[in-house]
Symmetry: C2
Subunit: 190 residues, 2 copies
DNA sequence: GGCATTTATTAAACTAGTTTAATGAGAATC
DNA sequence: GATTCTCATTAAACTAGTTTAATAAATGCC
């Protein structure tokens, strides 16, 4: 759990006793490629930390799969939208690789926040971090062309292109496999 | 400050003494139509609550104005992206109407969070609320057509169309005034 | 190593937006 | 009340994507 501890402390100062209190609730879990951690209409009562592997977070509507995010090493994740609001999920969490994650239940997370003001602050700051990422995402969607978004992803998360099939990347970028092929072709010509 | 107090308590239970502690730091401020609360390269060290009025949050890049949000009655707001990260703003906050807002400085906000675990929780939960809104925004941008987004805005915030000029609404929706006109025409035909 | 399946590319026809420019309509100013 | 300015609409040419369908290339499996 060293990576997890380090990650928490990258947000804010947390005393040894508080961090030990928090970590005791996390359980390790292994999940095989292709397995689902979550599917639609389930409630999600767990929060995760990705130790090793890759999980895709996606919806399927009218037969169209839309990848919202790829969670890789060092990510905190869950279906945060359903988790926060206590509503049934509309999404899938599917392992794209064999993965190792740490999990904490929502009720245990609440215990941690009740017990420690420092960890409640970690919670607030990690939500802030999520805000920053989502804000950037919104700006990318609004202000950049698909080609620019593709180039940006290539720059920021190059390893994704090694570990994830292209049609899922296309979906993540909000276009069809055909569209992504066209963009790549256009770029290779110039 | 009753609206503000009520708003805070809509997130989580806060004792009278804690809420009074928090509210003492807020100052009222009036701002006239056309005035700027913030412009690019300024640092933003204040957090706001909109009592009455309307403020647009936008950027200008290469001569193109892009409206991110319209803040109206009951909204907490600031340039949260710059505020959180302590970086100079790239945005404008401009009053589209004469407005009345409550303001608290960042350092006073920190005092409030240090003093009260309950208000720190309010902070976390209001960030969660912001997350939910941004998540929905991302999904709208990814999954809906411009026409659908227009119809959704019309349904959710009909009064905006009375108080804000159409070219700003077009910008908010991520299209040109010409594009919005086309959409309206198409809809009126069916 | 060969076969079946999945994934990626290409082409062709189409669509929903863009840009530019002209027109129209309302509101503010003198 | 005429003029000016701003904002909204329309038209025409264009663009970056879409869909569908065919083909090519990789991958997995026995």
């Amino acid at each position: 759990m060293e990576d997890l501890k380090k990650k928490i402390r990258s947000f804010t100062k947390v005393s040894d006793s508080d961090i030990e209190f928090g970590l005791q609730f996390f359980k390790i879990r292994k999940i095989k490629k292709g397995e689902l951690l979550l599917k639609p209409n389930q409630c999600i009562n767990e929060f995760y930390f990705m130790q090793k592997g890759c999980i895709s977070y996606y919806t399927v509507e009218e037969g169209i799969t839309r990848v919202m995010e790829f969670f890789t090493e060092g990510y905190f994740f869950t279906d945060l939208y359903a988790f926060i609001q206590d509503i049934p999920s509309e999404s899938y969490l599917e392992a794209l690789e064999d993965s190792i994650i740490y999990t904490i239940s929502k009720s245990d997370q609440q215990k941690v926040y009740d017990h420690s003001h420092q960890l409640e602050r970690f919670g607030r700051l990690s939500m802030q971090r999520t805000f920053v990422i989502n804000f950037q995402r919104i700006n990318q969607l609004r202000n950049l062309s698909n080609q620019e978004r593709y180039l940006q992803l290539l720059e920021k998360r190059p390893s994704l292109f090694q570990r994830v099939p292209q049609y899922l990347i296309a979906s993540y970028l909000g276009l069809t496999p055909v569209g992504l092929s066209k963009i790549k072709k256009r770029l290779s010509k110039s």
